[in-house]
Symmetry: C2
Subunit: 306 residues, 2 copies
């Protein structure tokens, strides 16, 4: 069996803020330690749940530096370098690699909505070729319902063929099991190619299909519970565990509130730190009344786990 | 009659590139001069047609500097500062103001698709309040079919009320005459508020409704013809002139090719400079065969104008 480039449970780390909406670095670092201590194999700094695109390149690089200076192991970090400008994607990737991070997670350029696979191939190739470092590991980020730009299996296959050492995985946040199966076929054709699902509700399906794990917003909230399913996915009771695991997602997202705002409100409640409630515009934090609704929904749903 | 903050025919300047896909500054500067010499009242540097979001903040600021150093009058320039990160929007606006530019054109943050008017208000307010310069003039950029984020008339009204010196106009690139009328009502309630249409095909309707002019991709191609309609929109034959003016749009976009790629191909043909054919990924230049189709369509449609 060929080993995957990366595997496990990863949190796309939420970003706490000071009153001036700069990143609250002490709270951020404390949270990164907690995530690794509570079940995560590693962290994705600056994914969608991190409000990545709401921060400048300089702000993102400074936060990565701060986390590393605080003693978080670089090899446990994947840095989101998704930006509309491929030149920014190069800068963020170079910075992550120079710091020793495992790799980068890369959105397609996401301003123009109607782009061809050829244009997307050129965009990713631009970054890979200009970074020009054999250590580069790039995980492509498929989240069409947010970015507006989907990545086809054919495109991933072309990238993995053209750049076998750099194009090593994908995160599928579509939530579509059928799409996940198409990505499993890409992985089957390219040994070592890691398929992550973007929701822990597909973790079992992903592992059974040869996937590598999950990078889920809910891993900011219940990393320990997700980790248990990952560790025991071959057990006879895995289907029951998967169903149980979905309780938090169903409760939190069942409110209809923004998923990132909800995850931050739950983290604020757990830690008592108000920095978790703040969001950069255009996102808006939950109101006190909305927080009450959320906490009541979660309290009512919480199962007694085996 | 209250004077508008800005009015006239503006080109969202196309961006030529060297082989390495950096901006070809000599060609860019030459083109800016040509546009101003050929009918444009002013220029928007880094709009959608400029592939603005495909360039980093540093690349965009360097290009603005180069244009100013080449003697283009700063007061004729509006700088696009649309970015997904409001902190980048602040940096670009400060740079434009420090250089003496007339103002900025601002996209809503465009990664997260489902955002509230409250979130958008906060995003624009973030930029205005942190720039903190009474000279700031901001033109909001409504292009929902590209950015995925529309600006409601209610939001514009709230912004113009809260920030009367900064929130001074809008560019409506929706192409929807009904939406343009809603924006005219905002302008009627806020003297000086300038409504630009994003297509020269609505120039007459916009001027008759109290609008300020147009900022149209086609102003990169036929600035002289658009200028004539702007100057003569009160004449008895204005409706005929408007219909005649649409020939280029109908011919070029009738091909179904990407509008920016088409405008660049037409500019390459006019100037003979291959730097006009290049595009940053994810956009892709027209193939030689597509260029032939385009040029044939334009040649067949060209009218003998009065």
């Amino acid at each position: 069996m060929t080993s995957l480039s990366l595997s496990g449970v990863f949190a796309p780390v939420l970003t706490p803020m000071d009153k001036d909406l700069t990143i609250d670095l002490p709270l951020y670092i404390e949270f990164c330690h907690w995530l690794l201590d509570t079940g995560c194999h590693g962290l994705v700094l600056f994914g969608t749940n991190s409000e990545a695109t709401s921060f400048s390149v300089a702000e993102r690089m400074a936060a990565v530096d701060a986390v590393l200076e605080a003693g978080i192991p670089a090899e446990k970090l994947v840095v989101g370098n998704g930006t509309p400008a491929v030149s920014d994607g190069v800068e963020l990737a170079r910075h992550a690699l120079a710091a020793g991070c495992h790799g980068v997670m890369t959105l397609p350029p996401f301003y123009y909505p109607k782009v061809s696979d050829e244009g997307l191939f050129r965009a990713f190739a631009y970054i890979i070729e200009r970074v020009a470092d054999p250590a580069l590991k790039m995980y492509f980020y498929h989240i069409p319902q947010i970015s507006g730009i989907g990545l086809s299996a054919e495109l991933l296959d072309r990238l993995a063929t053209a750049f076998p050492t750099a194009a090593v995985g994908v995160k599928d946040s579509s939530g579509d099991p059928e799409n996940l199966r198409r990505f499993h076929q890409v992985a089957a054709a390219h040994p070592g190619f890691s398929v992550f699902c973007g929701t822990e509700s597909l973790l079992l399906a992903n592992m059974r299909g040869g996937g590598a794990g999950c990078i889920s917003g809910m891993a900011n909230v219940i990393p320990d519970q997700i980790r248990v399913l990952y560790d025991k996915y071959r057990d006879g009771d895995a289907d029951v565990r998967q169903e149980q695991l979905n309780w938090m997602r169903n409760a939190a997202l069942g409110t209809g509130f923004n998923a990132i705002a909800a995850a931050k409100a739950l983290t604020a409640a757990r830690t008592g730190a108000s920095g978790w409630l703040r969001m950069r515009p255009p996102l808006v934090e939950l109101t006190p009344a909305q927080q009450q609704v959320l906490h009541a929904a979660v309290a009512a749903a919480e199962p007694v786990l085996a």
